[in-house]
Symmetry: C2
Subunit: 147 residues, 2 copies
Protein backbone atom coordinates (compact mmCIF):
# COMPACT_ATOMS: atom_id res chain seq x y z
CA UNK A 1 0.00 0.00 0.00
CA UNK A 2 1.26 3.43 -0.79
CA UNK A 3 2.30 5.45 2.25
CA UNK A 4 -0.22 8.09 1.27
CA UNK A 5 -3.13 5.64 1.10
CA UNK A 6 -1.99 4.08 4.35
CA UNK A 7 -1.99 7.38 6.18
CA UNK A 8 -5.35 8.28 4.82
CA UNK A 9 -6.67 4.94 5.98
CA UNK A 10 -5.34 5.46 9.52
CA UNK A 11 -6.76 8.93 9.62
CA UNK A 12 -10.17 7.80 8.47
CA UNK A 13 -10.28 4.99 11.02
CA UNK A 14 -9.36 7.33 13.82
CA UNK A 15 -11.90 9.87 12.68
CA UNK A 16 -14.63 7.27 12.84
CA UNK A 17 -13.41 5.39 15.92
CA UNK A 18 -12.70 2.24 13.98
CA UNK A 19 -9.88 -0.13 14.86
CA UNK A 20 -7.32 -0.07 12.06
CA UNK A 21 -7.14 -3.79 11.53
CA UNK A 22 -5.20 -5.70 8.96
CA UNK A 23 -8.36 -6.84 7.25
CA UNK A 24 -9.82 -3.37 7.01
CA UNK A 25 -6.59 -2.07 5.62
CA UNK A 26 -6.52 -4.63 2.84
CA UNK A 27 -10.19 -4.17 2.04
CA UNK A 28 -9.74 -0.43 1.83
CA UNK A 29 -6.71 -0.84 -0.35
CA UNK A 30 -8.46 -3.26 -2.68
CA UNK A 31 -11.09 -0.64 -3.31
CA UNK A 32 -9.04 2.50 -3.49
CA UNK A 33 -5.93 1.32 -5.30
CA UNK A 34 -7.68 0.43 -8.54
CA UNK A 35 -10.58 2.05 -10.29
CA UNK A 36 -13.82 0.10 -10.53
CA UNK A 37 -17.06 -0.74 -8.83
CA UNK A 38 -16.57 -4.01 -7.11
CA UNK A 39 -18.98 -6.41 -5.53
CA UNK A 40 -18.30 -7.79 -2.05
CA UNK A 41 -17.39 -11.11 -3.64
CA UNK A 42 -14.80 -9.47 -5.86
CA UNK A 43 -13.26 -7.61 -2.96
CA UNK A 44 -13.15 -10.86 -1.05
CA UNK A 45 -11.28 -12.64 -3.84
CA UNK A 46 -8.83 -9.80 -4.09
CA UNK A 47 -8.11 -9.51 -0.38
CA UNK A 48 -7.82 -13.27 0.02
CA UNK A 49 -4.63 -13.18 -2.00
CA UNK A 50 -2.99 -11.29 0.84
CA UNK A 51 -5.01 -12.66 3.75
CA UNK A 52 -6.02 -16.20 2.84
CA UNK A 53 -7.95 -16.72 6.05
CA UNK A 54 -10.23 -13.72 5.74
CA UNK A 55 -13.94 -14.46 5.84
CA UNK A 56 -16.49 -13.23 3.34
CA UNK A 57 -18.61 -12.08 6.26
CA UNK A 58 -15.80 -9.79 7.37
CA UNK A 59 -15.74 -8.21 3.95
CA UNK A 60 -19.46 -7.60 4.05
CA UNK A 61 -19.36 -6.21 7.56
CA UNK A 62 -16.57 -3.82 6.80
CA UNK A 63 -18.01 -2.61 3.55
CA UNK A 64 -21.17 -1.77 5.46
CA UNK A 65 -19.13 -0.09 8.15
CA UNK A 66 -17.20 1.98 5.62
CA UNK A 67 -20.32 3.01 3.74
CA UNK A 68 -22.07 3.88 6.96
CA UNK A 69 -19.12 6.01 8.03
CA UNK A 70 -19.10 7.75 4.69
CA UNK A 71 -15.67 6.46 3.72
CA UNK A 72 -17.11 4.76 0.67
CA UNK A 73 -20.35 4.96 -1.22
CA UNK A 74 -22.70 2.44 -2.71
CA UNK A 75 -23.16 2.72 -6.44
CA UNK A 76 -26.87 2.17 -6.42
CA UNK A 77 -29.24 3.23 -3.68
CA UNK A 78 -31.66 0.52 -4.72
CA UNK A 79 -29.84 -2.71 -5.05
CA UNK A 80 -31.43 -5.64 -3.28
CA UNK A 81 -34.92 -5.52 -4.61
CA UNK A 82 -36.12 -5.60 -8.13
CA UNK A 83 -38.47 -2.76 -8.95
CA UNK A 84 -40.70 -2.40 -11.93
CA UNK A 85 -41.49 0.83 -13.68
CA UNK A 86 -44.75 0.91 -15.62
CA UNK A 87 -44.63 4.58 -16.43
CA UNK A 88 -44.07 4.78 -20.16
CA UNK A 89 -43.73 8.52 -20.27
CA UNK A 90 -40.18 9.83 -20.02
CA UNK A 91 -39.51 10.82 -16.44
CA UNK A 92 -36.87 11.02 -13.76
CA UNK A 93 -36.69 9.51 -10.31
CA UNK A 94 -36.55 10.94 -6.84
CA UNK A 95 -34.73 8.44 -4.68
CA UNK A 96 -34.67 8.58 -0.91
CA UNK A 97 -31.27 7.47 0.30
CA UNK A 98 -32.71 6.57 3.66
CA UNK A 99 -35.84 4.49 2.99
CA UNK A 100 -35.01 3.84 -0.67
CA UNK A 101 -38.42 4.89 -1.87
CA UNK A 102 -38.69 5.93 -5.48
CA UNK A 103 -40.99 8.60 -6.83
CA UNK A 104 -41.44 9.85 -10.35
CA UNK A 105 -40.39 13.33 -11.27
CA UNK A 106 -41.87 14.94 -14.33
CA UNK A 107 -39.49 14.90 -17.27
CA UNK A 108 -39.73 18.64 -17.70
CA UNK A 109 -38.78 19.37 -14.09
CA UNK A 110 -35.17 19.03 -15.10
CA UNK A 111 -33.37 20.54 -18.03
CA UNK A 112 -31.88 18.24 -20.66
CA UNK A 113 -28.52 16.60 -20.11
CA UNK A 114 -25.85 18.18 -22.24
CA UNK A 115 -23.00 16.10 -23.50
CA UNK A 116 -19.70 17.94 -23.53
CA UNK A 117 -17.15 16.15 -25.63
CA UNK A 118 -17.44 12.48 -26.38
CA UNK A 119 -18.39 9.32 -24.62
CA UNK A 120 -15.80 6.54 -24.56
CA UNK A 121 -15.53 5.04 -28.02
CA UNK A 122 -17.72 2.02 -28.64
CA UNK A 123 -20.35 2.87 -26.07
CA UNK A 124 -23.74 2.95 -27.76
CA UNK A 125 -25.84 5.51 -25.94
CA UNK A 126 -29.44 4.59 -25.19
CA UNK A 127 -30.53 7.26 -22.77
CA UNK A 128 -29.68 9.48 -19.87
CA UNK A 129 -31.37 8.87 -16.56
CA UNK A 130 -31.23 11.39 -13.80
CA UNK A 131 -31.64 10.28 -10.25
CA UNK A 132 -32.41 12.98 -7.76
CA UNK A 133 -31.06 11.67 -4.49
CA UNK A 134 -32.01 13.01 -1.11
CA UNK A 135 -34.20 12.46 1.92
CA UNK A 136 -37.90 12.16 1.32
CA UNK A 137 -40.60 14.02 3.20
CA UNK A 138 -41.53 11.08 5.42
CA UNK A 139 -37.93 10.40 6.46
CA UNK A 140 -37.27 14.07 7.16
CA UNK A 141 -40.36 14.19 9.34
CA UNK A 142 -39.37 11.04 11.20
CA UNK A 143 -35.94 12.49 11.83
CA UNK A 144 -37.28 15.77 13.16
CA UNK A 145 -39.61 13.98 15.51
CA UNK A 146 -36.74 12.03 17.05
CA UNK A 147 -34.67 15.00 18.14
Amino acid sequence: MRRETYNEFRRLCQEHSLAATHQRQKIYEALVSRPGHYSPEEIYEQVKQDLPSISLATVYKNLKTFVHAGMLREVSPHHGSWRIDANHHPHHHLVCTRCRSITDLDFDSLGPVKLRGKLPSGFRLEKFTIEVQGICKACTAAETKQH
Copy 2:
Protein backbone atom coordinates in the same frame (compact mmCIF):
# COMPACT_ATOMS: atom_id res chain seq x y z
CA MET B 1 -59.88 -3.15 -15.08
CA ARG B 2 -60.74 -0.28 -17.35
CA ARG B 3 -61.79 -1.29 -20.83
CA GLU B 4 -58.94 0.78 -22.23
CA THR B 5 -56.30 -0.92 -20.13
CA TYR B 6 -57.81 -4.29 -20.94
CA ASN B 7 -57.64 -3.70 -24.67
CA GLU B 8 -54.10 -2.48 -24.43
CA PHE B 9 -53.21 -5.59 -22.49
CA ARG B 10 -54.74 -7.87 -25.11
CA ARG B 11 -52.99 -6.00 -27.88
CA LEU B 12 -49.63 -6.21 -26.16
CA CYS B 13 -49.99 -9.92 -25.53
CA GLN B 14 -50.89 -10.58 -29.14
CA GLU B 15 -48.03 -8.44 -30.33
CA HIS B 16 -45.57 -10.48 -28.29
CA SER B 17 -47.22 -13.89 -28.77
CA LEU B 18 -48.10 -14.22 -25.14
CA ALA B 19 -51.19 -16.00 -23.91
CA ALA B 20 -53.51 -13.49 -22.30
CA THR B 21 -54.01 -15.33 -19.07
CA HIS B 22 -55.94 -14.28 -16.05
CA GLN B 23 -52.80 -13.99 -13.98
CA ARG B 24 -50.99 -11.86 -16.51
CA GLN B 25 -53.95 -9.58 -16.77
CA LYS B 26 -54.07 -8.97 -13.05
CA ILE B 27 -50.33 -8.49 -12.80
CA TYR B 28 -50.38 -5.99 -15.60
CA GLU B 29 -53.27 -4.20 -14.03
CA ALA B 30 -51.60 -4.04 -10.63
CA LEU B 31 -48.67 -2.25 -12.20
CA VAL B 32 -50.40 0.05 -14.61
CA SER B 33 -53.45 1.09 -12.68
CA ARG B 34 -51.60 2.88 -9.91
CA PRO B 35 -48.41 4.90 -9.97
CA GLY B 36 -45.40 3.50 -8.19
CA HIS B 37 -42.38 1.26 -8.49
CA TYR B 38 -43.31 -2.02 -7.02
CA SER B 39 -41.28 -5.03 -6.04
CA PRO B 40 -42.36 -8.51 -7.14
CA GLU B 41 -43.46 -9.19 -3.58
CA GLU B 42 -45.70 -6.13 -3.55
CA ILE B 43 -47.27 -7.08 -6.88
CA TYR B 44 -47.84 -10.55 -5.51
CA GLU B 45 -49.65 -9.24 -2.45
CA GLN B 46 -51.79 -7.00 -4.60
CA VAL B 47 -52.74 -9.64 -7.15
CA LYS B 48 -53.44 -12.21 -4.47
CA GLN B 49 -56.44 -10.21 -3.38
CA ASP B 50 -58.10 -11.08 -6.68
CA LEU B 51 -56.44 -14.41 -7.37
CA PRO B 52 -55.74 -15.98 -3.99
CA SER B 53 -54.10 -19.05 -5.48
CA ILE B 54 -51.50 -17.23 -7.56
CA SER B 55 -47.92 -18.22 -6.92
CA LEU B 56 -45.08 -15.81 -6.27
CA ALA B 57 -43.07 -17.65 -8.91
CA THR B 58 -45.71 -16.79 -11.48
CA VAL B 59 -45.37 -13.13 -10.62
CA TYR B 60 -41.61 -13.28 -11.04
CA LYS B 61 -41.85 -15.18 -14.31
CA ASN B 62 -44.32 -12.78 -15.81
CA LEU B 63 -42.52 -9.66 -14.69
CA LYS B 64 -39.45 -11.02 -16.43
CA THR B 65 -41.51 -11.84 -19.49
CA PHE B 66 -43.02 -8.37 -19.59
CA VAL B 67 -39.67 -6.64 -19.14
CA HIS B 68 -38.10 -8.83 -21.77
CA ALA B 69 -40.90 -8.00 -24.17
CA GLY B 70 -40.48 -4.32 -23.47
CA MET B 71 -43.95 -3.92 -21.98
CA LEU B 72 -42.44 -2.77 -18.69
CA ARG B 73 -39.05 -1.56 -17.57
CA GLU B 74 -36.86 -2.23 -14.58
CA VAL B 75 -36.13 0.81 -12.46
CA SER B 76 -32.48 0.08 -11.99
CA PRO B 77 -30.21 -1.84 -14.31
CA HIS B 78 -28.01 -2.79 -11.40
CA HIS B 79 -30.10 -3.99 -8.57
CA GLY B 80 -29.10 -7.48 -7.56
CA SER B 81 -25.53 -6.98 -6.58
CA TRP B 82 -24.13 -4.52 -4.17
CA ARG B 83 -21.39 -2.42 -5.69
CA ILE B 84 -19.02 -0.12 -3.95
CA ASP B 85 -17.79 3.15 -5.31
CA ALA B 86 -14.49 4.37 -3.94
CA ASN B 87 -14.14 7.28 -6.31
CA HIS B 88 -14.48 10.37 -4.15
CA HIS B 89 -14.37 12.81 -7.03
CA PRO B 90 -17.75 13.80 -8.40
CA HIS B 91 -18.47 11.70 -11.45
CA HIS B 92 -21.21 10.04 -13.45
CA HIS B 93 -21.72 6.45 -14.45
CA LEU B 94 -21.87 4.67 -17.76
CA VAL B 95 -24.06 1.63 -17.30
CA CYS B 96 -24.29 -1.19 -19.79
CA THR B 97 -27.85 -2.44 -19.90
CA ARG B 98 -26.70 -5.77 -21.25
CA CYS B 99 -23.81 -6.88 -19.04
CA ARG B 100 -24.52 -4.39 -16.26
CA SER B 101 -20.95 -3.17 -16.11
CA ILE B 102 -20.39 0.25 -14.61
CA THR B 103 -17.73 2.71 -15.68
CA ASP B 104 -16.98 6.16 -14.41
CA LEU B 105 -17.57 9.15 -16.57
CA ASP B 106 -15.76 12.36 -15.82
CA PHE B 107 -17.96 14.89 -14.09
CA ASP B 108 -17.27 17.53 -16.71
CA SER B 109 -18.30 15.30 -19.58
CA LEU B 110 -21.87 16.26 -18.91
CA GLY B 111 -23.33 19.67 -18.34
CA PRO B 112 -24.92 20.47 -14.99
CA VAL B 113 -28.46 19.39 -14.25
CA LYS B 114 -30.82 22.34 -14.27
CA LEU B 115 -33.80 22.36 -12.02
CA ARG B 116 -36.88 23.90 -13.58
CA GLY B 117 -39.49 24.71 -11.01
CA LYS B 118 -39.56 22.99 -7.66
CA LEU B 119 -39.07 19.54 -6.27
CA PRO B 120 -41.97 18.07 -4.28
CA SER B 121 -42.20 19.84 -0.95
CA GLY B 122 -40.32 18.20 1.88
CA PHE B 123 -37.76 16.43 -0.27
CA ARG B 124 -34.27 17.38 0.89
CA LEU B 125 -32.01 17.32 -2.13
CA GLU B 126 -28.59 15.76 -1.72
CA LYS B 127 -27.36 15.44 -5.26
CA PHE B 128 -28.13 14.66 -8.84
CA THR B 129 -26.71 11.52 -10.36
CA ILE B 130 -26.74 10.96 -14.06
CA GLU B 131 -26.64 7.45 -15.40
CA VAL B 132 -25.69 7.12 -19.00
CA GLN B 133 -27.34 3.93 -20.14
CA GLY B 134 -26.40 2.03 -23.25
CA ILE B 135 -24.44 -0.89 -24.62
CA CYS B 136 -20.77 -1.03 -23.78
CA LYS B 137 -18.00 -1.64 -26.25
CA ALA B 138 -17.52 -5.29 -25.33
CA CYS B 139 -21.21 -6.12 -25.66
CA THR B 140 -21.47 -4.30 -28.97
CA ALA B 141 -18.51 -6.26 -30.26
CA ALA B 142 -19.94 -9.56 -29.06
CA GLU B 143 -23.21 -8.76 -30.77
CA THR B 144 -21.57 -7.86 -34.07
CA LYS B 145 -19.59 -11.06 -34.05
CA GLN B 146 -22.73 -13.15 -33.71
CA HIS B 147 -24.49 -11.91 -36.84
